[in-house]
Amino acid sequence: MSPFLFWIFALLTVIFGAAVVVNRNPVASALSLVVSFLGLSALFMSLDAFFVGIIQVLVYAGAVMVLFLFIIMLLNLRAEEERRINWLALAGGVAVALALLIQIFLVISRFDPARKTFPPLPGSTIDDVRNIGALLFSNYNLPFQIVGVLVLVATIGVVLLSKRELR
């Protein structure tokens, strides 16, 4: 992949990720998050991980964020826009973020494999959908089934909660 494209999509992801926090308008925040997801999925796809990339768009940008937007639009936006910034909280947040950033830089600078350039993976034309499917149903079958049960429980819970009268 050309580094030019990498920088475009990486910057897109990071800038719009920051815009999620900076924007005062919740709808603008939600849409920034969508663009950030799209940038992230482009990064996945440029690494030949088409399946992960497209699922990123399908699940997060296409379904989860639409629901978010749906809820946000029903809220009173004025209250959020007029809220004043709590400077103490802001300073605390920036300090924590900076501490994490410094920590990451320190760890990466001492981590030898991070400085090496890896040789390209052999056979980049492998069918990643097939690989992920085969792994899910062989090595990771039990976790997969447990996740399935979890989703089923959540679904039943939602149906129960949204029933008008509880018995």
Binding site: V27, F51, I55, G62, M73
Partner: protein, 354 residues
């Protein structure tokens, strides 16, 4: 990446967009008016040019010259952004659909990715943003209701859409759309499997869930493209026009184009999945000469045109559903049918393959 690949890809993108899709969109609007007129025993637009064929061009000038009005209370940035968001996903989707076999040895698909159908769903699911943002940014009651209706409706029917297509991939064994077409050439179209292994009774049994799958997919596609009988987001009688009420001039036209472009790409996906794509019995593929390559492309778009005609026929035949009926139909009927259908196909496949 060699330069030949880039040049052919660019030619394919420009060709499919400016020679096929955009003219098709504008003439789909004209066709809609003529078909509706025919169904209602009227004449329809027939004044501009022979049989009214230049009507889309006249419409374009009319829309461009209309006053482009932005309401004062609207959120201007999003108000301008929304129509673009409504058009783009519909057009991007066509990138993975194989619209022909080969022409001069170049495969007639813009991006033959191995997640073909997931790409279609992912990009199509982004189409809802144009409608929701448009309804919200107008800062007006009826467009807002239209946007809310649209997001709920599209999310609900995406489930049926996604589940209805699973049987196709269980049978084919790949998400790549060119493989789906390739399989249908060898085994017959999913909707009419009259080619290859006649003696296998499981094949005929398999055809039944495939047809159910096709019906669910098509009906969900009506809801996904906001077409009647599921055009609740733009119900004129209830919402004064729905999400595009506050839009005028070319921005309104973009919404219109987006709807028709979504219908065309939806038809193209249906044709690819269930009607054998560019294949027609007796016509060889593009490796036998460029003339056959062109014929394959023509066959594909002829099938798409038939599908679009069907969309229009349905629109002018059925009344609109009520909103609760629409939701009940989606969640309690199509969702279950599609789910059971998957189990049915999965149960038949081992016998079919053995």
């Amino acid at each position: 990446m060699d330069s030949l690949f880039i040049i052919t890809s660019l030619l394919k993108i420009l060709g499919i967009l400016f020679v096929v899709i955009l003219p098709m969109v504008s003439y789909a609007v004209y066709a809609e008016r003529r078909v509706s007129a025919f169904i209602q025993d009227r004449l329809g637009p027939n004044r501009v040019g022979p049989a009214g064929l230049f009507q889309p061009i006249a419409d374009m000038f009319k829309l461009l010259l209309k006053e482009d009005f932005t309401p004062r209370a609207a959120n201007t940035f999003y108000y301008w952004l929304a129509p673009c968001l409504a058009v783009m996903p519909a057009i991007i989707t066509i990138a993975v659909v194989p619209f022909g076999s080969t022409l001069f040895g170049v495969p007639m698909v813009i991006a033959d990715v191995n997640v073909g159908i997931l790409f279609v769903f992912a990009i199509a699911s982004l189409g809802v943003y144009g409608i929701v943002i448009g309804g919200w940014a107008s800062n007006s009651k009826y467009p807002f209701l239209g946007g809310i209706r649209s997001s709920a409706q599209m999310l609900s029917y995406e489930l049926s859409l996604g589940l209805a297509v699973v049987p196709v991939f269980l049978v084919v064994g790949s998400l790549r759309l060119t493989s789906v077409v390739r399989y249908q050439i060898e085994h017959g179209w999913f909707i009419a499997p009259f080619v290859g292994d006649w003696a296998n009774p499981w094949k005929w049994l398999l055809a039944i869930p495939m047809i159910i799958s096709f019906l669910v997919f098509m009906i969900a596609m009506f809801a996904e493209t906001n077409r009647l009988p599921f055009d609740l987001p733009e119900a004129e009688q209830e919402l004064a026009g729905g999400y595009n009420t506050e839009y005028s001039s070319m921005k309104f036209a973009l919404y219109f184009l987006g709807e028709y472009a979504a219908m065309i790409t939806g038809s193209a996906v249906i044709v690819t999945l269930f009607f054998g794509g560019w294949h027609f019995p007796g016509i060889p593929d593009g490796s036998h000469g460029w003339i056959f390559g062109l014929i394959n492309i023509a066959v594909f778009f002829a099938k798409v045109a038939v599908m679009i005609f069907f969309f229009m026929w349905v629109r002018w035949t059925f009344p609109r559903f009520r909103y609760d009926q629409l939701m009940r139909l989606g969640w309690l009927f199509f969702f279950e049918i599609a789910l059971v259908n998957i189990f049915l196909v999965a149960a038949i496949i081992p016998f079919y393959r053995s």
